[in-house]
Amino acid sequence: MVLQAIEKMRAALAWRPEELASARASGRKVIGWTGYNVPEELIYACGMIPVRISRGGSSRLAEMGANYISTQNCFFLRQCVGPFAEDVDPYIKQIDALVTDTTCLQSHRMSSLVEHYFQVNLLQLGMPKDPQRPEARRYFAHEVRFLVARLEKIAGRELDTARLAETLELYQNIREAVRELYRRVWTTSTLSWRTVNEMVHAGYLLDRVVYLGLLQELLQESKEDPGEKLPSQSVRVLLAGSPMAPGDNKLIEIVEKSGAVIAGDLLWSGFAQFTDLDFKECSLQGLIDSYLDRLPHAALPFMEVVTDRKLIKLLDVVRQSGARGVIYYSLRFCDPFSFKMLVTKDYLKLAGVPLMEAQTDFGEMDIETLRTRVEAFLEMLAIRS
């Protein structure tokens, strides 16, 4: 039985490109964005419509993107370029500008290429590699203010502090609702990770107020009338590693068809964007500080182990979700998420949590070998439990 909130979400998504066209016809701007540290809130606060352009899972679009970006770049970023080349995606066709950041150097390269080859109005936000240094914080604050100035120019209006405060509160409410949904996945058998993942991905595109409403409906509905009854005896696993953008379902399907339950994730495309980002104050400086202090992206070098917040958070999510093991997604050529994969494995091993690396791409040639690895890992976890 499909939850009503999910049905409404799907209907809203089906309608969304037309809705955007209508908004543009009335003078509003649509701003595409991708990048872990892009403050989407600023786009919304300037009265424009943010649309997160991340997609995955299409070797066809990745191949198309590879005509412009090196094949040594990850499949996710190649697929980011592909839709610009194809020029049929209803969201890509409607963006008035693209905001990206320089957290990941490959992503930086991708956005520069998109600007060069497809004449996209690019707003790049510089991100320091060591956000805790005072000089880095000053740099980021300057970059954010510069971004605001450029957004204001596109919007044709100045950023209003009251509007900003309202926006930050709205986004904070969205984060809290999503976190509650994840907690529901972790602690009950009445809501599946897949459902929450679909809702999270819908949030890339939907109107923010509508989205918050849908999240709250889903929370209420799953509380009153579960609708989903998940098998309690299945092995529970957590997904971590490279982002799994909407459409990148290969590994998810292999895991689920192997009989396991995905208990949660710590992916930038999923839970990681909602955790550890609470606004200290509803102001521009509060936003700046919060982004600097959030869970660091894997591309920001950090050699320590015991004090690595990403590792600490991962173990925390494993424990809260009741996962027996972690399947670590290593998307081919996604270097940042491979840097510390072995360190992550050893860290979790000390805590008694096995980790399996699933190295793959968007193609289908390795489905059976990947399935063998996943099934062997699940057999191992089943015996241990």
Binding site: L342, T369, T372, R373, E375, A376, E379, M380, I383
Partner: protein, 276 residues
């Protein structure tokens, strides 16, 4: 494990329940049939183009060796890459788990398994109970697999099973620099043309395979007794090279090392069949 048991001799006729494991690999389909008392029959056949058919034929051959019919098989577990084609199996289990069970049965002190098959190579670490603790695989490239040795045996124009014997002397090893099977073949042909001894070249080939395995093993660590399974374990030269690079003895079972996965599958079938 005695040789009678290994050959499936001394079978009991009658209605004793049997449990079977079939391992459908990329090159060979293997089957082992056991009862509560031990191994009753086994078989190895080429997989060919139709894995489901070859899996069934391997099972029928093993049953014929056991002097038994299909109706006596209470539970069948299929493993190997072709396991999904085994519609007649009660359950499919990955070859990682099956090799662990088979190796632990044959040599309980096993803590690391090296399995080199026709087209893949895996290293499996076991805990003290013989359960899988970790594993690493290479199945994207033929380097260091049975397929590599098939290519080499064609170059030297000797049967695959005689390759190891050609490297038994004390000639010095000639290193093979290419890791790719295709380029290594070209390199070997050049070495032969240059007048290098077959023995030296083959030692280089076996050393290259062992180095490849060691690279995979380093991802999960080697500890305790090392058990070598898969068809390549029958090659004395690879065994020696592996011992040299891992710096420890490598145990090759007296039971056909190609059948370890199927044996493990049969043992798991017995455990599951008893519960049913």
């Amino acid at each position: 494990m005695n040789s009678n048991e290994a050959r499936g001799e001394g079978n009991q006729r009658g209605t004793q329940l049997l449990y079977a494991g079939i391992d459908i690999g990329s090159l060979g389909s293997k089957a082992v049939v056991i009862s509560q008392n031990g191994i009753k029959g086994c078989a190895v056949l080429p997989t060919g183009v139709f894995p489901e058919k070859s899996g069934q034929e391997a099972l029928e051959t093993a049953l014929a060796n056991a002097n038994a019919g299909r109706e006596r098989v209470r539970y069948l577990v299929a493993t190997g890459y072709g396991r999904i084609t085994a519609q007649h199996a009660n359950k499919t289990i990955t070859e990682i788990t099956c090799h662990a069970r088979g190796a632990h049965h044959l040599h309980p002190a096993t803590r690391t398994i090296v399995d080199i098959g026709g087209q893949d190579c895996k290293v499996i670490r076991l805990d003290n109970e013989g359960n899988v603790a970790d594993f690493a695989m290479n199945d994207k490239c033929a380097a260091g697999t049975g397929r590599f040795l098939e290519v080499i045996s064609n170059v030297f124009k000797v049967p695959l099973e005689e390759l190891g014997d050609l490297a038994k002397g004390d000639a010095p090893l000639v290193p093979i620099n290419n890791t790719c099977t295709v380029f290594a073949e070209t390199e070997i042909i050049s070495l032969i043309a240059r007048g290098e001894r077959s023995e030296s070249i083959l030692k280089g080939v076996f050393s290259a395979i062992a180095s490849r395995v060691a690279g995979i093993a380093s991802r999960i660590g080697v500890s305790g007794d090392v058990f070598f399974s898969g068809g390549v374990a029958k090659n004395y030269g690879v065994v020696s090279a592996l011992e040299a690079v891992l710096e420890c003895p490598v145990y090759v079972p007296g039971f056909d090392p190609q059948l370890v996965g199927a044996l493990g599958a049969a043992m798991l079938a017995r455990e599951l069949g008893v519960r049913v």
